[in-house]
Symmetry: C2
């Protein structure tokens, strides 16, 4: 856990950033849920669709690992999405014994529309600030994200 | 949903910020879950403890509203936290018929320790950047947060 620090960030700054990230994540989570009320998916279903869109076909086991969910929970989730024609269970081309979850066109469409709604919300959030300020927010988030990825 | 925009943020910037916020939130969620493995609480339990710490005693109904959970789910959650001595059901001083959930010392202690562990993680994340850069991240997050709060 404790590796050598290259530069000492003051505890106050760390404290502030931790609070801000928690608050921003909470608002996004609440808003994200509100947005999903207009779509035929729940938050974990959207998450599964995002993974399938990003990484392609996966088994239930792989998907449940990505999402930190129990396989049984994941199976229920996939069952409901299959009923709604968002995903389909397909046989692996190389090994017909393996069943993979495949993102259907309707599932991809829902993902696209949800992300568009999220961007619309963000555009509204940012509508009172300048493009320059928005770019600074983007740049600083990118720095934070890159540091998080390598930790 | 569509109010007049004060300055037009480019779709690319909005797109980038949406992606970054989603990624950062995902990492924080995953990391937050990892941190909780060392504590006797689940993510929704921590959330409930945070609310009780922030806003004081609440009924199950109020707490379930804050957390967007069904009352029955909330009741189970409180039952388990009561067993672990994190919270207690107490009678309201003004109206003895009303039962409120009260954060116990051990619950407050857990919250304190979890937040400390989150700050330790963040300090590590930020250990490769300068204090000036960290302050810029903080300032930009604060601007974003303020815009989110008023939307």
């Amino acid at each position: 856990m404790s590796e050598e620090k290259h530069s000492p960030i003051s505890p106050e700054t760390v404290h502030e950033i931790e609070c801000l990230l928690r608050e921003v994540s909470n608002i996004l989570k609440r808003k994200g849920r509100e947005i999903l009320h207009h779509f035929p998916v729940t938050p974990p279903q959207l998450n599964a669709l995002l993974w399938l869109g990003k990484e392609g076909d996966m088994t239930i086991g792989e998907l449940s690992q990505k999402m930190c969910l129990a396989c049984s929970t994941m199976t229920d989730l996939v069952d409901r999405m299959e009923k709604n024609n968002l995903v389909a269970r397909v046989r692996d081309g190389r090994d017909r014994r393996v069943v993979q979850i495949h993102l259907l066109e309707r599932g991809a469409e829902v993902v696209k529309e949800v992300l568009e709604a999220r961007r619309q919300y963000l555009a509204e959030v940012l509508s009172h600030i300048s493009e320059e300020q928005a770019v600074r927010i983007q740049e600083n988030l990118a720095i934070l994200y890159n540091e998080m990825k390598r930790t």
